[in-house]
Amino acid sequence: MTEPSTPEFIVQDIITALKDKPGALLPILHGIQDALGYIPADCIPNIAAALNLSRAEVHGVISFYHYFRETPPGKHTIHLCRAESCQAMGSMALEAHVKSKLGIDFHQTSEDGQFSLEPVYCLGNCACSPAIQINHDIHGRVNCEKFDQIITELESLA
C-alpha cells in the first residue's frame, strides 16, 4: 500500500479526482506539476491507463507545452520575458546578466540546485517592462541591479 505522502499516492489522488472531467489531461498534468514541481516519467503509464490513452500520447502532450517539465526544477524557478516590449526596455542586457550571474542558460538548473531559468513569452506586464517571474512573484521594471538585489534577498531567506 502506498503512503498518503508519497509521490505515487499524490499522483494517483490527482488522477482519480480529475479523470472524469471532459478533456482531463491538461488539468491532471497541471495538478501533478503543482504538487511535485514536475511530471515524473514514471507517472505517465498511470495517466495513460486512466484516460484510455497510449503512453506516447501522454508524452506527446507533455512535450508539446513549454510550461510542463519532466525534470525536477531548482529551488527557485526564474521565468525571464523575452518578448518585444521587454526587449524595447533592455531585456537582452538583463538576459545576458542573469545567465552569467547564475552560470546557466535557458532550460538549465544551477549546479547547487538553487535556480532554474526558463524563457517566457510575455507575462502581461508590458507596461512595466522588463519583467521576470521568480516562483509565483512577478517583478516589473527589472534591471541588473534590481535582479541582483532580489536574488540576494532570496538567498538570505534560505
Binding site: 478533456g23 488539468p27 498534468l29 524595447a88
Partner: protein, 517 residues
C-alpha cells in the same frame, strides 16, 4: 470614522511594490491609531503612476503615486488620509488627464471597484445587461450584438454577432462558449486587467452569450502566466454561483449556464481558436483545418462560440445600453471602443480605452508621452508579435481595422510597443522568425520549416553575408509563409519581418534604392 484607502491588487502594480505599500499602510495606520478600511481595487491602468494609492474624500477619490513603501510614513505625516498635499499627490483621480480623455465602456468599473466584490459589481451597473437579456428572445440578443458592430477584439476582428448567429442556428443538444483568455501577444494586457480587475464583467458577458446561442457550458481558457487572474476568476465564479448568477436556474429564469476556468501551458499557438480547442480536449495544441468552422463543429465536435476576453466583456454594456449606444462610438466599420495598451519604451505606459479613430501619433505622444528613454521613437509594433513594425512616417494612421489593413498592418488585440532609435530592426526581424520557430505547432510545413530557415537566413543577413541573394530569398520565404501556412502564426510572421525590411532597409545592410529594386 474609518478612512477608505485603495491600493491596487493588479499584478503589474504588485510587480512594482503594491503589496508592500498595502502592508506598510496597514502597519503605519495601526501604529498611529488611525482606523483604515483598506480596499484592494483593480488598476486604473496608469502604470507609470503605479502603485497608485487612492483615498476617499468628500470631493471624490484623491490619488497619490507612484508610491513605494518607504513613502508611506511621509504620506501619513502629510495627512494624505484626509486628502493632504504631498509631492506624490496627483489630485482627484477622475480629473487626471490620461483618464479624463478616455471613453471607458468595457473598462467602466476597472480600478474603481473591489474586483471580487459582487456587491460592488452590482452597485456599479453590473448584471443590468444579463437582466435585460433574460427578458429577450435569443435571436434579439444576437441582433443587439450584431447591431452594436462589435468585432472580435482578439485580433481577427470577425463580427461577433455573425459568429453567435451561426451557433444559434446550428441545432445541437450541447453547445459551448469558450473565452479565449490566452493573451500571449507581447505588449498586451487588457485581458489580464479585465480578469484581475473586473472578473464579473467577463462572467456576465459569457452568460449572456450562453443564453443567446443556447450553450449551457462555458470554458475560460486562461494562460498559465496569469495566476492572479486565475484566482480572481475562480473567486468570482464561486460568488456568482452562490448568488444564482451562474448554475442551473439563473436568477430564477430556468436557464442554465455553468462556467469553468482551464489553464493553458505556455503555448502561444493555443491562442489560435482551433488549437485552443484541441488543448481544451486534452491534446497537443495542433491547429485544425477550417472548415468546419468552430461555430458549427467546435469543442468536442459541437457548435462553439470562441470569443476573446474583451469581446465578451463588452457584451454586458451593449445589452445594458443597447447596440446603437455602442455603435455610436468609433469610425467606419470599426465601431465602439478599443482598449489600447501602450507598452515598451514609453513614458506613460498603460491602458487607454477610446473610440476607434485616434491616430497612432496621438496615442504615442498625447497619451504615451514619447519614449521614456528621452530618445526619438524609431518604430512601433502594433498588434502583437505578428503585427507589422511601423515607422514614424506612418504614425498618422488612425486606429481603425481598415486603415491599418490599407498600410499592410494590423490592429490586432490593440497592443502598441514602442522602440526608441537604439533598436536594430534586423535583430527584431530575426527574433520574429525565432519566435515562430519556437511556437510553431508543427502541423504545416511553411511554418515549421520556414521559420527555422528564416532564422538562419536572418543570421546570415545580420552578418552581411550574400545580401544580393539572401534578401530576395527572405522575401520569397515570407511569401511562402504568408500564403502557405495553416494559421496566422506562420501566415503573419512575415508582417513584422517584411515591414522591418521595407521600412528600415539600412538595418539590413542595404540602402533604400536596392530594397525597391
Amino acid at each position: 470614522m474609518s478612512i477608505t484607502i485603495y491600493v491596487p491588487c493588479d499584478s503589474s502594480a504588485i510587480s512594482i511594490g503594491a503589496d508592500r505599500v498595502a502592508n506598510a499602510i496597514t502597519k503605519e495606520a495601526e501604529q498611529r491609531g488611525i482606523a483604515v478600511n483598506l480596499i484592494r481595487n483593480g488598476s486604473r491602468g496608469l502604470y507609470w503612476l503605479e502603485p497608485m494609492v487612492e483615498v476617499a474624500t468628500d470631493a471624490g477619490r484623491v490619488a497619490y503615486g507612484p508610491v513605494q513603501s518607504h513613502d508611506v510614513s511621509g504620506l501619513f505625516d502629510a495627512d494624505f488620509h484626509n486628502g493632504g498635499t504631498h509631492p506624490l499627490a496627483l489630485g482627484l483621480t477622475e480629473e487626471l488627464d490620461y483618464l479624463k480623455k478616455q471613453q471607458r465602456l468595457t473598462f467602466a468599473r476597472i480600478g474603481i471597484t473591489d474586483p471580487v466584490s459582487l456587491d460592488d459589481y452590482l452597485g456599479h451597473g453590473g448584471y443590468s445587461g444579463l437582466k435585460n437579456a433574460l427578458n429577450m428572445p435569443a435571436a434579439d440578443i444576437v441582433k443587439c450584438v450584431t447591431d452594436s458592430g462589435l468585432r472580435g477584439r482578439g485580433g481577427a476582428a470577425f463580427p461577433t454577432g455573425i459568429k453567435w448567429n451561426t451557433v444559434l442556428n446550428t441545432p445541437s443538444e450541447q453547445k459551448y462558449i469558450i473565452c479565449n483568455a490566452d493573451e500571449g501577444d507581447s505588449g498586451t494586457f487588457s485581458d489580464r486587467m479585465v480578469m484581475e480587475s473586473d472578473p464579473f464583467v467577463l462572467i456576465e458577458g459569457m452568460t449572456i452569450a450562453g443564453i443567446a446561442v443556447g450553450a449551457t457550458q462555458g470554458y475560460i481558457y486562461l494562460r498559465v502566466e496569469y495566476p492572479h487572474a486565475h484566482k480572481a476568476l475562480n473567486t468570482a465564479i464561486d460568488k456568482a454561483v452562490a448568488a444564482g448568477y451562474l448554475g442551473n436556474n439563473i436568477l430564477g429564469s430556468g436557464k442554465t449556464f455553468n462556467l469553468e476556468v482551464r489553464l493553458g501551458a505556455g503555448a502561444y499557438v493555443c491562442g489560435e481558436e482551433t488549437s485552443l480547442m484541441e488543448s481544451l480536449e486534452g491534446k497537443r495544441g495542433l491547429v485544425r483545418y477550417k472548415p468546419p468552422l468552430p461555430a458549427i463543429k467546435g469543442l468536442f465536435g459541437q457548435p462553439t462560440v470562441v470569443n476573446n476576453v474583451i469581446s465578451l466583456a463588452s457584451v454586458p454594456v451593449i445589452l445594458d445600453k443597447g447596440g446603437e449606444y455602442y455603435r455610436d462610438f468609433g469610425v467606419g466599420r470599426s465601431r465602439g471602443t478599443l482598449p489600447v495598451q501602450l507598452a515598451g519604451n514609453l513614458k506613460h505606459t498603460g491602458l487607454v480605452e477610446i473610440a476607434f479613430g485616434l491616430t497612432l501619433r496621438e496615442l504615442l505622444y498625447d497619451f504615451g508621452g514619447g519614449a521614456v528613454s528621452g530618445r526619438p521613437i524609431k518604430a512601433v509594433q502594433v498588434g502583437g508579435p505578428l503585427g507589422a513594425y511601423l515607422p514614424e512616417s506612418q504614425f498618422d494612421t488612425p486606429l481603425d481595422y481598415e486603415a491599418f489593413a490599407a498600410i499592410w498592418a494590423v490592429v490586432g488585440h490593440g497592443g502598441i510597443v514602442a522602440f526608441d532609435d537604439t533598436v536594430d530592426m534586423a535583430i527584431m526581424a530575426k527574433y520574429s522568425m525565432e519566435f515562430c520557430a519556437i511556437e510553431s505547432c508543427g502541423k504545416c510545413t511553411p511554418c515549421r520549416i520556414g521559420s527555422t530557415r528564416g532564422y538562419e537566413l536572418m543570421d546570415e543577413i545580420i552578418q552581411g553575408q550574400n545580401l544580393d541573394k539572401n534578401i530576395p530569398l527572405l522575401r520569397s520565404l515570407c511569401d511562402t509563409l504568408l500564403n502557405g501556412s495553416l494559421c496566422a502564426l506562420g501566415g503573419m510572421t512575415p508582417y513584422p519581418v517584411l515591414s522591418a525590411l521595407n521600412h528600415f532597409p539600412e538595418d539590413f545592410g542595404i540602402n533604400k534604392q536596392a530594397n525597391i529594386d
